[in-house]
Amino acid sequence: MITRRLVSMLFGSLALAGAVFADELVVIAHPASGVVALERTQVVHLFLGRTRALPFGERATIYEVDAYRAPFYRQLVRQEIAEVDAYWARLRFSGRTQPPQLLEDGAAAVDRVAAEPHALAAVASADIDERVRVVFRLPLP
């Protein structure tokens, strides 16, 4: 984890600069999760750690892809990623809750969600396949 964070610190800016996005990001869930669609407010609560429960009460596991974080939160809550990171520092280092797990790319996130019935992940629409279900769409400008 520490190694991944350090790499993220050093090369995060390069990764963001070099990332190529589709025209929208999507939140995906396992088809067997029972989740068909999420409201924007629900996505905000889940990805900012205000709730860990899916609509039917199961505990959710949230995944993020490093290169998608900045545009995802900029569109979702109108905040720069530095503000989101400061928010998570507050929660993480007071033992409240842990931030979503970072994965290296969209394919890894799709694999995780396909394998875990109560997982959610934010990925580019180009990353998804038939193993997962789109439950929220976030168009990019």
Partner: protein
């Protein structure tokens, strides 16, 4: 007054460290932690935070400090790195969906003026449902709007929490339990937290380091937080049994009472009784609001505090910050004011009796330990130079009529003075 012996501290630290190691071993040895470190959030996570900071001012015979538990402050004409620099390492173990543990060790300059590690957090958490959490172990009180801890500089817009408010509240840890219930209400999360336990922390006043090992911390926090708005109402109390915080001074007053004229003898007896008497309650109520709209963010909070036993005080404080995010830059303006007024405790010992001089001096020091009337303007900028690291430059102008946060060259509270403090800080998390 009780000083802190190094041996006592080291033994205490050793015990706390073993508790932390025990918590982690318990979690790390669990089947879930061993089988699935990467998946579903289970297993061991190591992380940390830190601040490298240097402060400078040129006000002679003045030491600037950020917290009352700091023995030394920044002195005139010298770069001081011990005011805000800190390193924290944290280990989280998620055993299963309901059980987890966390231990956090923070290294910073302590009340003896030495760099030392401390167990800042160390608890086991049980969460039977997603909206209910019970924690037991080393915990913190809910008084910091931005961080639940004064040490995670990266979580703050400014270099440090408001010195005038939070600097005085150094008994912010406790060994006990807290219970937090939360639910999504509208656009935000509504939560109620109740907590209590044995007080931990220390503060350095008048050349002495005070601890409240026998005290009890109680508190409750009601909070609602959305992306645009957060409101927090906090109440807390530190109760200390009536075993006397100043037994030597009280004893000295009782000894000299028979030698004084009747009226003065009664006065000295009354003051001694106030030092030795009933339980002490230090209470505070705080209300804070944080507002965010686009690039703008603002924060306003107020605290009312009081203590009912000698020397006693009534106090209040306000703090506010206005900031604007422009890409990686975030300039800010901050204002804070803190007022602690000791209760009236007259004791007119004759000035012409040399043998009473030490008692007069000790009494004046005791009644002035907490007195504080100061405000501060701060202007600065935060620059997020890379993911998980931010550089901050901040200039504070502090004006004090009297201050228990500023110290003079000998380490005691000061009277009227002003000081401009420049601080550069690099905050990071990993």
């Amino acid at each position: 007054m009780r000083g802190l012996e190094r041996g006592t501290f080291m033994r205490g630290w050793g015990a706390r460290a073993w508790v932390a190691v025990g918590l982690l071993c318990w979690g790390a040895a669990s089947p879930a932690a061993q089988e699935d470190v990467a998946g579903a959030g289970m297993g061991l996570r190591l992380s940390g935070f830190g601040t490298l900071a240097a402060s400078y001012h040129d006000a002679q015979d003045t030491q600037f400090r950020a917290r009352a538990d700091q023995r030394e402050g920044a002195q005139a004409g010298r770069l001081e790195t011990g005011i805000d620099s800190v390193l924290g390492v944290q280990a989280d173990v998620q055993v299963d969906a309901r059980w987890s543990s966390m231990a956090q060790v923070v290294v910073r300059k302590d009340g003896k003026g030495e760099w030392a590690p401390r167990l800042s957090w160390g608890f086991v958490k049980y969460s039977p449902t997603p909206g209910l959490e019970l924690r037991a172990g080393r915990l913190g009180v809910d008084i910091y709007l931005d961080g639940d801890s004064p040490h995670v500089g990266y979580a703050y817009t400014t270099v440090r929490p408001y010195t005038d408010l939070y600097g005085q509240l150094s008994f912010d840890r406790f060994d006990g339990v807290d219970l937090r219930a939360s639910a999504v209400v509208g656009e935000g999360e509504l939560s109620l937290k109740l907590y209590g336990g044995r007080t931990r922390g220390e503060d350095y006043r008048g050349g002495h380091l005070f601890r409240r090992e026998a005290s009890t911390t109680l508190g409750a926090t009601l909070q609602w937080e959305s992306t645009a708005l957060a409101m927090r109402l906090a109440w807390g109390q530190v109760r200390t049994p009536g075993d006397g915080l100043m037994p030597r001074l009280a004893g000295a007053l009782r000894e000299i009472a028979p030698l004084l004229p009747p009226e003065l003898a009664a006065q000295a007896g009354a003051r001694a009784a106030e030092m030795e008497g009933r339980n002490s309650n230090l209470s505070y109520v705080g209300l804070g609001v944080t507002w965010r709209h686009g690039p703008w963010s603002a924060q306003l909070l107020g605290v009312d505090a009081s203590m009912n036993r000698f020397p006693g005080f009534e106090g209040w404080g306000v703090g506010s910050t206005l900031a604007y995010r422009a890409g990686a830059w975030k300039p800010f303006l901050a204002y804070s004011r803190g007022m602690l007024t000791p209760g009236a405790r007259p004791l007119a010992l004759p000035a012409d009796q040399a043998e009473l001089a030490p008692i007069r001096a000790a009494y004046a020091l005791a009644t002035g330990l907490i007195a504080n009337d100061q405000y501060a303007w701060g202007v600065g900028v935060r620059y997020d130079l890379m993911p998980n690291a931010a550089l901050k430059l901040q200039l504070d102008r502090i004006e004090a009529k009297r201050s228990s946060m500023l110290l003079d060259g000998s380490g005691t509270s000061v009277g009227p003075r002003g000081v401009s403090v420049f601080t550069a800080a690099l905050d990071f998390v990993f």
